[in-house]
């Protein structure tokens, strides 16, 4: 349990992945709580994957935002049980990212 809590605090940040209700909760942008983003999701605007770092992809939502990349649903458990690995649009292609299931 302690390891899980430690992992979650380390993996999310004000830039990407923290819970939020308003923009002020994040470094740049809050995807407010919804079925797609349970608990809210701090993210940053992007135009390409290179804007999002190694662990995230730039997806076609809200003008382009970063979301954690994944391969399987298990990769998203650190965000909570409401998150799963889903295929979404990404710059004319598709990307697998963590979002509400």
């Amino acid at each position: 349990m302690l390891a899980l809590i430690g992992c979650q605090s380390d993996d999310v940040s004000r830039r990407l992945g923290a819970r939020c209700d308003v923009t002020a909760d994040c470094a740049q942008k809050c995807l407010t709580p919804s079925g797609d983003w349970p608990g809210g999701f701090c993210t940053t605007a992007c135009t390409s994957d290179s804007d999002c770092g190694d662990s995230a992809r730039c997806i076609d939502e809200d003008g382009g935002v970063c979301a954690f990349a994944c391969v399987a649903a298990g990769d998203c458990t650190f965000l909570g049980s409401a998150y799963t690995c889903a295929q979404v649009d990404s710059h004319g292609g598709q990307a697998m990212v963590c979002r509400g299931g």
Partner: protein, 197 residues
């Protein structure tokens, strides 16, 4: 307040070491002295760091020991660095030079034998202060223990320059659901001291 009472109020004293050449140190430091330092401190998480300004009041307790009352101001930068993780726990990840703090501390400074022009000393005690990270609206009360040391060199009859390092370790009680949090800081300062008597 008598010297004995001041000594009893202090919870820690530097460990015994080689005896100081007591006649010289008393004449050098004086019965009372004041000083001011500037420097930098490193904090992190919920310990403020940044530029540091300190004021000292020294009062002789014994042949080797002086009460060292200190008022410290720490002024750092940094923006908001706290967030709610996925477990909805409020977490702060401030940098080593973020935040602001003000503290008063009661310490004992023990002087050792002079090494050439320099007189080394050790310092230990306890403080109480207020920490603040304005962009996150995080603030609280901190109670750190201080351990440190430095060197002092007289440059005139009543004036000395001092350089010292200090480690502060303790805890803070903070708002925004943070509660009890550890405090850990390191500071390096230099300044001047003036003998009063």
């Amino acid at each position: 307040m008598s010297r004995r009472v001041i000594a009893l109020l202090l919870v820690a004293s530097p460990a015994a070491a080689e005896p100081a050449d007591t006649g010289t140190v008393a004449a050098d430091v004086g019965d009372q002295a004041i000083g001011a330092d500037i420097g930098a401190s490193a904090g992190g998480r919920v310990t403020p760091g940044g530029a540091r300004v300190q004021g000292h009041y020294l009062y002789q307790l014994s042949d080797q020991d002086w009460f060292d009352g200190t008022a410290t101001f720490t002024y750092g930068g940094g923006g908001a660095a706290c967030f709610r993780d996925r477990m909805n726990t409020f977490v702060c990840e401030h940098g080593i030079a973020d935040g602001r703090g003000v503290e008063i501390a009661a310490t004992v400074r023990r002087f050792f034998a002079a090494q050439g022009d320099f007189r080394p000393f050790a310092r230990a005690g306890i403080g109480v202060g207020i920490v603040n990270f304005g962009d996150d609206s995080v603030s609280g009360l901190a109670i750190p223990l201080h351990l440190g040391g430095g060197v002092r060199a007289s440059v005139a009859e009543s004036i000395a320059i001092v350089a010292q390092a200090d480690v502060a370790i303790g805890f803070g009680v903070l708002n925004k659901t943070l509660g009890l949090e550890p405090q850990l800081g390191l500071a390096v300062t230099a300044g001047a001291e003036f003998r009063l008597q």
